[in-house]
């Protein structure tokens, strides 16, 4: 048994730390020292970055990854795509408030459907 004994968890004390705050300008990088002494290299997108270009967004993310940088900012925005709620023609009212006349088709509708399937 002891030959297969492996540590799964380490019981340890979590000390109190202050929150880490950063402030850096668009188009620049900042190295952040984390609580454990490790570092993150953050790069903020430039102010004139165009977030509507999907391919460019993917490229920028890949380039940052290759450089070991964490790219920050809004990479991509598309305001024209329909939402799933629009595609499903969902009504504006909450479903729970709809009257029975709108949520229950009624006997005639059932009979018409059954007739169609005969």
């Amino acid at each position: 048994m002891k030959d297969h004994e492996e540590t799964l968890q380490e019981m340890s004390f979590v000390p109190h730390f202050e929150e880490i705050d950063v402030e850096y300008d668009p188009g620049t990088t900042v190295s952040v020292t984390m609580h454990d002494g490790s570092h993150l290299q953050l790069r903020k997108l430039e102010e004139d970055y165009d977030p509507t270009n999907r391919i460019a967004a993917m490229t920028r993310l890949s380039e940052a990854h290759d450089k070991g940088e964490v790219l920050t900012g809004i990479f991509y925005v598309n305001t024209k795509a329909p939402s799933v709620l629009d595609m499903l023609n969902m009504v504006d009212e909450p479903l729970a408030t709809l009257p029975e006349s709108l949520t229950r088709p009624g006997r005639e509708a059932l009979e018409a459907a059954m007739e169609e399937l005969r």
Binding site: T7, Q9, E10, S12, V14, P15, H16, F17, E18, E19, I20, D21, V22, E23, Y24, V32, M34, H35, D36, G37, S38, H39, L40, L42, K44, R54, A57, M58, L61, S62, H65, G68, V70, L71, T72, G73, I74, F75, Y76, V77, N78, T79, A81, P82, S83, V84, L85, L88, M90, V91, D92, P94, L95, A96
Partner: protein
């Protein structure tokens, strides 16, 4: 003796104070980046004048998914099953499209057990703000690597991550999310601005927020 009348508390354009957007006292570690993210959510919702009762907070499991308890206690809240928040969010939004859905997940909750649900959520463009509080580890279970941990990261125990990370932003863009961004929990100005833009967007917003953790955050420079 004359007393000076107390100053009227500052209110937003719907007449609420920032207190109206607060939640319970956090039980996360002091200095955890997740607490900073909660503060930014409170700030953004207050400044945008969002009615708290219009907001549905949804989450999965993990340190991140506990955090909706620490902001906006007047809002609806559903702490769902591990990695299954997208299904619950979809149901909630289908039942009432007037809600403002705010999903809070973690890197483990999203990029491992919840990756299937995440993928389908992104391609549907459901109106939802999906925040990943991303610290690269499973914090609640003592810090094992998550699927967003960097290749070559080293834990305090000496274990090295030999798997490449999943870039949730790249994945979200590829799949059709209509608002994708990344910030750092300690960048107050950027995160606050991004959250306000997210509230104004109609469609799926995916924000990956790199967060600090009190235990070692897996990072190549940690080696």
């Amino acid at each position: 003796m004359a007393t000076t009348p107390a100053a009227e508390p500052k209110t937003n354009h719907i007449g609420l104070t920032v207190i109206d957007y607060k939640g319970g006292k956090t039980t996360l570690c002091a200095g955890c980046g997740h607490n900073a993210i909660s503060e930014r959510i409170i700030e953004a919702m207050y400044e945008m004048g969002v009615q708290p009762e219009r907001v549905a907070k949804l989450s999965g499991i993990g340190c991140s998914s506990k955090s909706p308890a620490y902001f906006m206690n007047r809002s609806h809240s559903f702490n769902s099953v591990h990695g299954r928040m997208p299904s619950v969010a979809t149901g909630a939004m289908l039942a009432n499209r007037n809600l403002l859905a705010l999903g809070v997940s973690g890197d483990g909750d999203t990029a491992s057990i919840g990756i299937g649900q995440f993928v389908h959520l992104m391609r549907r463009n459901l109106p939802l703000i999906y925040i990943i509080e991303d610290n690269g580890v499973y914090g609640l279970t003592k810090g094992q690597f998550s699927a967003t941990a960097d290749l070559g990261s080293k834990l305090k125990s000496g274990v090295i991550n030999d798997l490449p990370p999943i870039d949730t932003c790249g994945l979200a863009i590829e799949l059709g999310a209509t608002f994708v961004g990344r910030s750092f929990s300690g960048d107050k100005r950027q995160l606050s601005t991004m959250l306000k833009a997210a509230i104004a967007h109609h469609g799926t917003v995916m924000l990956d927020v790199v967060s600090t953790i009190m235990r070692a955050r897996p990072n190549p420079t940690n080696m």
